[in-house]
């Protein structure tokens, strides 16, 4: 375990440092003091209780979408539909929360809304899963295109099914049917605990269950896995279902959190960034947590760039992309066995 940690952590730290050098050069070129910019980034990510809380909140969502990529990727199935699965989870969660009778205890409503989120994501992810397993469609294309269908469906729910007075968000869930806040200063809710549990559960499943073994066997080679008695079909469908459920939980965490509603722009590409999260974690479930924190810090911290040093905040996503591409190009991260 310690060796594995060192083998993963050292190159990542090295490459982050190298990307930092790259970014420093970039900043110097644009006439911005790099130390001011980096300290602004750090301030924005962990400068005060609320920013730490924001980083943790976004990290929760990114860990869920990271799992959504990690689980199927391990079986060499390219689920790039995390964004859509997140939206469908959010839709299912909000609709459930709004439609359950008031007579139910609020704890039960929250729990059912969370479960509905997981189911919503899982069902949506089963579309590419089933199409791939039974008709041989390209899971990559199907899951990618389904993102747009899901976002449009969410927009329909917002503007037509349960709109609030502005029509740009759904009706809000009552405060007591939102996820319980565990750290008020940071605005962090209980989904943080949930994500740690889910990630741990997947890690345990990976190591000790037949399912985990089957997934890895299929990832290593379809034919040999089949010879060893594993069904590639059931692995395909189940990895997509598990991945989709994780992304759906991410959506539930977003809408059942502080705002208690689904809005037209719900996700800042969290589903796509989840792919990077999984990759930097080397597709190892437990490493998803630190990896998600890293990307959340970058994404939240970059919001501080404009106020502190006058750089447009959209350079934040540029920063994330440059970092990942640099990590990929230097082969610090790669999918095991794929590129060799």
């Amino acid at each position: 375990m310690e060796n594995a940690l060192r083998a993963r952590a050292l190159p990542v730290v090295g490459s982050v440092a190298m990307s930092a050098v790259l970014v420093v050069l970039l900043l110097l070129a644009s006439g911005v003091n790099p130390f001011a910019a980096i300290s602004a980034l750090a301030q924005g990510a962990v400068g005060n209780a609320y920013s730490i809380g924001q980083t943790l909140t976004i990290a929760t969502v990114l860990a869920f979408t990271g799992l959504a990529a990690c689980v199927p990727f391990t079986a060499k199935l390219w689920n790039v539909g995390g964004e859509g699965q997140l939206y469908m989870g959010a839709v299912a969660s909000v609709l459930t929360g709004l439609s359950l009778p008031d007579s139910l205890p609020s704890g039960v409503v929250v729990a059912l809304a969370v479960v509905a989120g997981a189911l919503g994501g899982a069902v949506w992810a089963m579309i590419p899963g089933l199409l791939t397993a039974f008709v041989g469609a390209s899971e990559m294309i199907v899951s990618l295109l389904l993102n747009f269908v899901a976002i449009t469906a969410a927009s329909f729910v917002v503007t037509t099914v349960v709109p609030d007075s502005s029509g740009q968000g759904t009706q809000r869930l009552p405060r007591d049917t939102r996820l319980e806040t565990i750290w008020p200063e940071g605005g962090v809710n209980i989904s943080l605990v949930l994500v740690v549990l889910v990630v741990t559960a997947v890690a345990v499943l990976w190591r000790w269950s037949r399912f985990g073994f089957a997934v890895r066997a299929v990832g290593l080679g379809r034919d040999s896995a089949r010879l060893a008695g594993f069904s590639t079909r059931s692995v395909t469908v189940s990895t997509f279902a598990v991945g989709g459920a994780a992304a759906g939980l991410g959506g539930a965490a977003l809408v059942l959190g502080a705002t208690g509603q689904l809005t037209l722009g719900l996700s800042a590409d969290y589903g796509f960034i989840g792919v990077a999260v999984a990759l930097v974690a080397g597709l190892r479930p437990l490493f998803i947590l630190p990896s998600a924190v890293l990307f959340a810090a970058l994404s939240v911290g970059s919001n501080n760039l404009q106020v502190a040093v006058g750089l447009p905040k959209d350079l934040g996503s540029v920063l994330v992309a440059v970092l990942v591409l640099a990590l990929l190009a230097t082969h610090v991260i790669r999918l095991r066995g794929r590129a060799s």
Binding site: L22, L25, V32, Y50, Q168, T259, T263
Partner: protein, 393 residues
């Protein structure tokens, strides 16, 4: 991984640096150009900041968070222009952030500015009430204003004391645009292309057709919703369809995607005019822009900020100054931009327009709001069914 096997990785990493450098070169060039040109566009923050620093004491610091860029020549542009119109004696320092799309982005930007000593956060996106309320709760010393929204009594009661809501009466503006369209149209068909199908947008084309019917009982409208404020291709296709159906005056409610309407009008078989919203867009397409509907967003921005600087916002001292509804009477909201000598506007049309505008301003004509009349104007088809005589036409 053993120590020896780290070395080739290291060498690979070095070679990778070259790859990364190539990638950064592109960015570098872009960034260089960026910084040199940023000054010449004269960002409002610079000018406002310099005016603020001239006087002694701590300036009042305010940031505007919006859904478009400061130079989008539409909604956000008009808002950003307001930052240059703040009374200089108030010592205000301002910044503008856009485009922002998700609730998280609003929250994170808001908390960044609040943590950096800003006193006020003005949000000009009606869909972000939850995010705005959350920022207000998290930073009780910061004033947060958000709109355009029409809060209910219950909403107002539930808002924190450092929160304020604002709204603007858009109906009068699009109504006047409709009056012009009703008088100018040769075909008795007008059109409107709109982005999202929610009240703050729906009321625009509905007010437009109501205004047209006020002066021309025969006029009908084709309203198309594209579902996107950035897809110019869809906006163009919607406009072309309306033009093919006979429409010759089009109202835009698609924000930046109005470019698609210009594109469609340029290729129209008969003279076709576009009426953009929020920003005087004459120079964008002098041949096709008939006039623009202006809501004095710059004035609203400056007014809210001035109120904030003078400590008049929020209900901390027991007042009800938590909701500001801007209309023509209090801040010239809902006017038409100059016609720039457009030949389609004859003296008779100008006279008729002046007559209707007079009636509108003195209250003879009342354009229904979202909660007035039998049918709120933010419902599909309202503008085509309300009897013009019933509102004073």
């Amino acid at each position: 991984m053993s120590r020896t096997s780290l070395r080739p990785t290291h060498r690979r990493a070095l070679r990778g640096t070259a790859a990364a450098a190539a990638l950064s070169a592109t960015l570098l060039l872009a960034a260089c150009g960026g910084s040199s040109d940023a000054g010449s566009t004269g960002s409002s923050s610079d000018s406002a900041a310099s005016s603020g620093s001239s006087s002694s004491g701590e300036p009042f610091k305010v940031v505007v968070l919006s859904d478009g860029a400061a130079n989008d020549q539409s909604w956000s542009n008009s808002v950003a222009d307001g930052l240059n119109e703040i009374d200089p004696s108030l010592d205000v320092e301002s910044d503008f952030v856009g485009p922002l799309t998700t609730a998280d982005e609003y929250q994170q930007q808001g908390s960044s500015y609040a943590s950096n000593g800003f006193d006020m956060i003005l949000i000009t996106n009606g869909g972000q009430t939850s995010a705005a309320v959350q920022i207000a709760e998290q930073f009780p010393d910061v004033t947060v204003c958000q709109g355009p929204i029409s809060p209910t009594e219950d909403d107002l009661a539930s808002f924190p004391s450092n929160f304020c809501a604002w709204n603007l009466k858009q109906q009068d503006g699009t109504f006047l645009a409709g009056v012009v369209a009703g008088l100018v149209t040769q075909t008795d068909v007008i059109g409107s292309v709109a982005g999202g199908e929610f009240p703050a947008v729906v009321r625009q084309p509905e007010g437009f057709i109501l205004g047209a019917r006020c002066v021309n009982p025969d006029v009908t409208i084709d309203i198309q919703y594209t579902g996107s404020f950035s897809d110019v291709g869809a906006a163009q296709a919607a406009a072309q369809t309306e033009i093919a159906g006979g429409a010759d005056v089009l109202l835009s409610a698609v924000d930046s995607a109005v470019r698609g309407l210009y594109a469609a009008a340029e290729g129209a078989p008969r003279p076709t005019f576009v009426i953009p919203s929020y920003f005087d867009s004459y120079e964008q397409a002098p041949e096709t822009v008939l006039t623009s509907v202006l809501y004095n967003l710059n004035g609203i921005t400056a007014d809210l900020i001035a109120k904030g600087a003078q400590g008049e916002l929020g209900d901390a001292d027991g007042g009800d100054e938590q909701y500001f509804n801007y209309d023509y009477a209090n801040l010239n909201v809902g006017e038409l931009a100059d016609f720039h000598g457009n030949a389609a506007i004859t003296p008779e049309i100008e006279a008729k327009l002046a007559e209707i505008e007079g009636k509108l301003r003195d209250g003879t004509i009342t354009v229904p709001g979202e909660d007035g009349a039998d049918m709120p104007l933010s419902e599909n088809g309202a503008g085509s069914t309300i009897d013009p005589a019933s509102i004073g036409c």
